[in-house]
Amino acid sequence: MTPAWFMGGLILGPLVAAALAFTFPKRGRGMACAAAGVVGIAVTALIRAVLGGGVSSHRVSGWGAPLGIDLRADGLAVLLLALTALIAVAVTGYAAPYLRATDSPEARHRERYFWPLLLFLWTALNALFLTRDLFNLYVALELLGFAAVALVALEGKGDALRAALRYLFVSLSASLFYLLGVALVYGQCATVDLALVAGRAQPGPALTVALALMTGGLIAKAALFPLHFWLPPAHANAPAPVSALLSALVVKGAFYLLLRLWFEALPVFHTPAAARLFGMLGAAAILWGSINALTQSRLKLLIAYSTVAQLGYLFLMFSLMTGRDGGFGAWCGALLLLGARACAKTAMFLAAGNILRAAGHDRINDLAGIAQVLPVSAFALGLAGVSLVGLPPSGGFAGKWLLLSAGLREGQWWGGAVILVGSLLAAAYIMRVMTRAFTPAAPGTAVRPVPPIMEWTALALALVAVGMGLAGSWLAELLRVGGPWP
């Protein structure tokens, strides 16, 4: 078995499963499990291959760039693939009982369409992480966007539909911006392969505008402040497992692409000014998102705004990537943060889903007694909060530490200050929720039971988020494979 097999499995597995899940609507969950199996094996094997033999590339259809499309699995790609697999598997486990909450036509309908859409989303993410081709990325982005929008709309309520429509408009126009950028790149470099573009790129108006267009589109998709407006309604109104996927993975897909663009395809444009611009936007996102999270009255909205803030940390990294070690510390920090936060966010949304199920609402002020009824979910929420705030030994701490020390080493004090203030604000909004949750319930509050697997899935992910800090060295070793530094 060669890496080509694993890459093929990563893409064809969920894609074919999605098609089958649509053809046989009653077998949706089975298909998801089968895809999870295939992807699980492929990802594990690919990680081993990357750790053992370095970057592995594959030329699809045997042609190779510039004519064909190349796939490439380096440390960054396999890390995100593994993260996606982990979260998708958790969501699969969670969604099965979640979708069968009631035996109504609505529930049946939702279950029919959830699985194929989930599998499409998974395909799109895997394709996005593997491909090296800018145009292919466009197709993958569209696949991702459509699946995400359809999943949001699956909730079927008015707010969810409106949010989905807004999301779709943003996503489509952002894709077109991106595509126009690709056209300009092709016009200048006569190729759309990341590595070849890097070789042929010369600073000039065409590439500057191209990069600006692509970045603009991707920033909108990644919901970086100030283009984040679509995110909170979409994430807060979607069904819980969907919110988890969107928040943990979908926005990160666009961020991943930005990394590839700025650090691999067109590193010539990563000037201090551009870096500072990203850093400022990131800092603004952290503060704006956190402050908004603090004032929300609904738990899911709070988590969604916290996602806006967390994305800010990732962009802060752009301004810290100038260090003596080639920015490796900041790079690792941001990606560790990404991984830990993805798990934490998933755990939080799943726990919020449990609360919603049990109490029938997610108003923060009326959460009293939840810790008694759903101790495991409350615990998951708390643990995920620990990672979000960045307390040790969580992955959030490790990432924050790396970013902070990179910032201090480079003398970027304001970055360090924002990171600290951001984590204090995070502590404040987490504490607000936890305090309510631990207040004893008023007598006579009726709650619906929640299947144990839904609670334990949330807890498991929160534990991964916390434990990820201990695997920091290993993850850094993985990230070093094929990264953009000497």
């Binding site: 060669t2 093929g8 999605a18 699809v60 004519l67 859409l117 292919n136 016009g187």
Partner: protein, 318 residues
């Protein structure tokens, strides 16, 4: 001289029409202008020496998209009228644009103009002559199994793109079905014998035409997408006349048809992986046959998908 003049006029008309289509006070007229725009664009593509695309644009970009928007417009209008009738006040008419909006309009307009300027600047800075990938593509054309370079790119050089694209098509129909129940025709037109007999002739013709486009796509403009669009037209005719009703009631069959493209393409990718060790890498010398099989499956799926997109929703589900 005359071609340049023609081109200039075309560009001018396209731009004006684009503006009119989006900003016409009457939405209905806007949609019609939008369809006309699509047809003009098809002509423009021809002038840009892209006959494959002209075909696709005329059928898909203008025809199908236009039909989709038009039917949506009719549906929305009817609903608005119904609502207006019930509230007896007509409160649902287009909301009056507030005066204050003019301000932001100006700003946004200026922004768009600035963008236009920047884009033009960037476009003018591009090298006047760029070899692109023509040379590479043509050099490899003999190995690709087909002689139409566009088909070669689509189904061999960049077949992976197309695989994902077929995935997008399927996803679109899944998404639409998840959203709403379609306006599946209930009327049976069997009374109208004349129409029926006409259709009996036309439909097979269209199907054969689709097959022909697919076949010819290997060497000349055409291919699965253009053929699929034709098939979609046939399907629509059949559906609207009620002929296709019995066929469509068999839900499993439709679903299989819709997924056929992805399944065959995906399985082909996997088989190729086992055969040659490369994802979607066709065995030497057999590329033509592989492409034909994949395209045939894709044709069915594309046709069905595009046709059913028009209905805008899922059928009755058991």
């Amino acid at each position: 001289m005359i071609p340049q003049l023609l081109d200039g006029t075309l560009v001018l008309v396209v731009v004006v029409l684009a503006w009119r289509a989006l900003n016409d006070r009457d939405l209905f007229r806007g949609v019609i202008e939008f369809i006309a725009l699509g047809l003009l664009l098809a002509m423009a593509w021809l002038r840009l020496r892209a006959p494959d695309l002209a075909l696709a644009e005329a059928a898909v970009g203008s025809g199908l998209t236009g039909a989709l928007i038009l039917s949506a417009l009719v549906r929305m209008r009817r609903r608005e009228q119904a609502a207006a009738g019930q509230t007896a006040g007509g409160a649902t008419g287009p909301r009056g644009e507030a005066r204050g909006k003019n301000h932001s309009r100006m700003v946004l307009g200026a922004l768009s103009l600035a963008m236009l300027g920047i884009l033009a600047w960037a476009a003018l800075s591009l090298p006047a002559k760029s070899p692109g990938l023509t040379a590479e593509a043509l050099a490899r054309l003999p190995d690709s199994g087909v002689t139409n370079p566009v088909t070669a790119v689509l189904l061999n050089f960049r077949a992976y793109d197309t695989l994902l694209e077929i995935g997008v098509l399927l996803l679109a129909i899944v998404g639409v079905w998840a959203l709403r129940r379609g306006d599946w025709p209930a009327a049976d037109l069997r009374e109208r014998l004349l129409l029926l007999s006409l259709l009996r002739w036309v439909l097979p013709l269209l199907a054969v035409g689709a097959g022909y486009l697919l076949w010819i796509g290997a060497s000349a403009p055409g291919g699965a997408f253009q053929g699929g669009a034709l098939l979609a037209g046939a399907l629509l005719l059949a559906l609207l006349s009620g002929l296709g009703k019995r066929l469509l009631w068999r839900e499993r069959l439709i679903r299989t048809g819709l997924t056929l493209g992805v399944l065959v393409f995906g399985v082909a990718g996997a088989v190729a992986l086992g055969w040659t060790g490369g994802l979607l890498q066709y065995p030497t010398g057999q590329a033509g046959a592989w492409i034909l099989v994949i395209e045939a499956a894709a044709l069915v799926s594309i046709g069905l998908t595009l046709g059913l997109l028009y209905l805008g929703g899922r059928p009755e589900e058991k």
